[in-house]
């Protein structure tokens, strides 16, 4: 696996992430389509994901929870907006309360996954759009709460230090 490109646009609140896998488009597609594979990569090892619902059709949802080291559970879901196997997938992410119910009025982000055969490898491009800075903050902070934050690459923040 090689990460070949990352584009971040802080003004447009988008990120596109390109990775190439030594595998076929069908196998890469299965990582999204198969709930048992999905739960193996979605959450980090210390917060494993358990998929409780996986309706892989447009309008369908994957619902999951992640279990933390103290046994605490964090619920989330993604709605599949468009599915074109094994090439393209569009999904919206949302959050669920402790009982697994959808939290009304919570921000969502939309992501598009494009998978293509590039000859000797398979390219996957993930493009995510955030609706607003506030939503982005909330979504990423909630993601961080689920232990997804990982080791941060700290950017020198010249102006914040000045202010």
């Amino acid at each position: 696996m090689t990460i070949t490109a990352i584009h971040k646009d802080p003004e447009k609140l988008t990120m596109s992430f390109t990775a190439e896998f030594d595998s076929t488009p069908e196998r890469v597609w299965q990582l999204w389509a198969d709930p048992r594979l999905f739960e193996k990569w979605w959450g980090p090892p210390e917060y494993p994901a358990t998929v409780v619902e996986h309706e892989f059709t447009p309008g369908g949802k994957v619902r999951y929870y992640m279990t933390g080291p103290e046994g605490e559970k964090y619920h989330g879901f993604s709605e599949f907006i468009a599915i074109d196997p094994p090439k393209a997938l569009e999904l919206g992410d949302g959050f669920l309360d402790d009982d697994g119910n959808e939290v009304e009025g919570m921000p969502t982000m939309t992501s598009r996954v494009d998978i293509s055969d590039i000859g000797d490898a398979t390219r996957m491009v993930i493009t995510t759009m955030f609706p607003s800075l506030e939503a982005m903050e909330q979504l990423i902070e909630m993601g961080a709460e689920e232990g997804m934050k990982g080791s941060l690459s700290q950017v020198p923040d010249l102006l914040a230090a000045m202010a």
Binding site: M124, T128, K149, L152, V155, L159, M162
Partner: protein, 110 residues
Amino acid sequence: MTDEQVDLLFHALADATRRDIVKRAIAGEHSVSELAAGYAMSFAAVQKHVSVLERAGLVTKTRRGRERLVTTDIATINQAAQLLDQFEELWRQRVNRMGELLALETGESR
């Protein structure tokens, strides 16, 4: 950022008055005359400093009635950039796990 943009940025920030103007612009909106009142220099001199900052992309001037307000969205963009860095890290970890899963499927990878 191009080399030219970096040069403009460092030149803009190399002056104490200009750094102070940026600080004030981050804290809130001020008209050029409000800013000028805080420094022992002419209105024209302050206006010139604002222009240097504007060229470096550190502040923007917006019109409100007869006033020209000096604002900055640097803080907002910085915050967005940091959040995107966190999001990038999340996906780095995820695609690493994806790569490991695909590598486990022995004999079937290309």
